[in-house]
């Protein structure tokens, strides 16, 4: 829950503050909770504070896995970062030809 939005760090400022950019809109936020964030990183912003960093590689993996077939019933397409991805699961999914009734 909680309105939080990915934004790119475009300028680092004093006192753990930074200028972030979302779609061309810029806002000053605090990086106190994400001290390792650097210029160009994407952070998740909530009530004026960055609460975490966004991992671009994981984002790509997640996008690729949307709707992918489950490869192995015993070792399902778990997206957890602790389990390294099987390269085969990132292949495009076989689309189910059945149209979804709406």
């Amino acid at each position: 829950m909680c309105l939080a939005i990915p934004a790119q760090v475009v300028a680092l400022q004093d006192d753990a503050m930074a200028l972030v950019d979302v779609g061309g809109v810029r806002k000053q936020v605090s990086l106190a909770l994400v001290p390792e964030a650097s210029l160009g990183d994407y952070v998740i912003v909530h009530v004026g504070y960055a609460i975490g960093r966004l991992d671009p590689d994981e984002a790509e993996r997640t996008l690729a896995l949307f709707g992918a077939l489950q490869v192995d019933a015993a070792a399902p397409a778990v997206l957890d970062a602790a389990a390294p991805a099987d390269p085969d699961t990132t292949a495009p999914a076989d689309l189910d030809a059945t149209a979804l009734p709406r």
Binding site: M1, C2, L3, A4, I5, P6, Q8, V22, G23, S30, A32, L33, V34, P35, Y42, I44, H46, V47, G48, Y49, I51, G52, R53, L54, D55, P56, E58, A59, R61, T62, L63, L65, F66, G67, A68, L69, Q70, A73, P76, A77, V78, L79, D80, A81, A82, A93, L95, D96, T98, L100, R102
Partner: protein
Amino acid sequence: MKYIDEFRDGAVAQRVAARIAAEVRPDRTYRFMEFCGGHTHAIARYGIAEWLPPAVRMIHGPGCPVCVLPIGRIDQAIRLALERDAIVCTYGDTLRVPASAGLSLLKAKARGGAVRIVYSPTDALRIAAEHPQREVVFFAIGFETTTPPTALALLAARRQRLENFSVLSCHVLTPSAITHILESPEVRDYGSVPLDGFVGPAHVSIVIGSRPYEHFAEEYRKPVAIAGFEPLDVMQAILMLVRQVNAGRADVENEFTRAVTRDGNQAAQAVVAQVFELRSRFEWRGLGEVPYSALKIRPQYAAYDAEARFDMDYRPVPDHKSCECGAILRGVKRPVDCKLFGTVCTPDSPMGSCMVSSEGACAAHYSYGRFRDIAIVAEAGA
């Protein structure tokens, strides 16, 4: 907008929906609770229910901190503004919550109470610095996502020696709420919770990590899929839950790997632990008293604790007799099951917690879903 638009792609939604439809078993239903208000909002706003096969039912959980904020706490904030002459700084979400005596913070403002809307706790700090002769209280609501900023603001107040600044802490905890649902009265009646799994909150999990959910998965044998905030995230998490249920598994899976790790944000957890401690009990609107479910400010920071500073007591106030919010928050009734829904209780005149914020189950259904209850015209005239 990067990392937002890609996760709202309708064409990809078709793919995920097709997978869900293909994998649900014909002989059963799947009841999943999305705990987080943001997910409730996303499901309603993007019409995700329309993408799901009828076998999958989404139950809206109590993950909306405004919805579960009891009347007694709003009363405290109103008293601070009207009786103690404090400037009460609050997030916009709480403004219209109806409290006792027909008041809300908005109405208190109309009566001369100094109520200011802020976007961030730093705004409250600034107001305190600008009005050194006035008491300034930050009304701190929210789950674990919102708590670290409050902690930082309190520490900043101490550093800047803002002696007129204090915090009314109403921060609540997600795991406690989930446990409460899993141990609700209905469990005793039916022997089990009528839920097959949870869609775990997105941003809370950035802070607390995925580890705290492992307890539920294990203890209550319910799978959890932590989902990102966007509609594709939610749909993928539902697919993951369907697969777990089919396989008879009860694990914690993480769909939101681009932002959530097992350990979460340690810096944020540390600053919260520094400033806050557990309350032994805290009343949740619609759920009654839940043990160890909320935070209060540690004694060494009592100077910045509004409850201590203003010597405030808490007076519980019951909800309307016919209000079904409790059952709705626990997932055992739907908004349309409540006698008050849509007539006495609407977003403009909310009676209970579920209607009060746009994240609440009843508000979401009223704004987005009620047209499904009545036959709706689909095609254009010409």
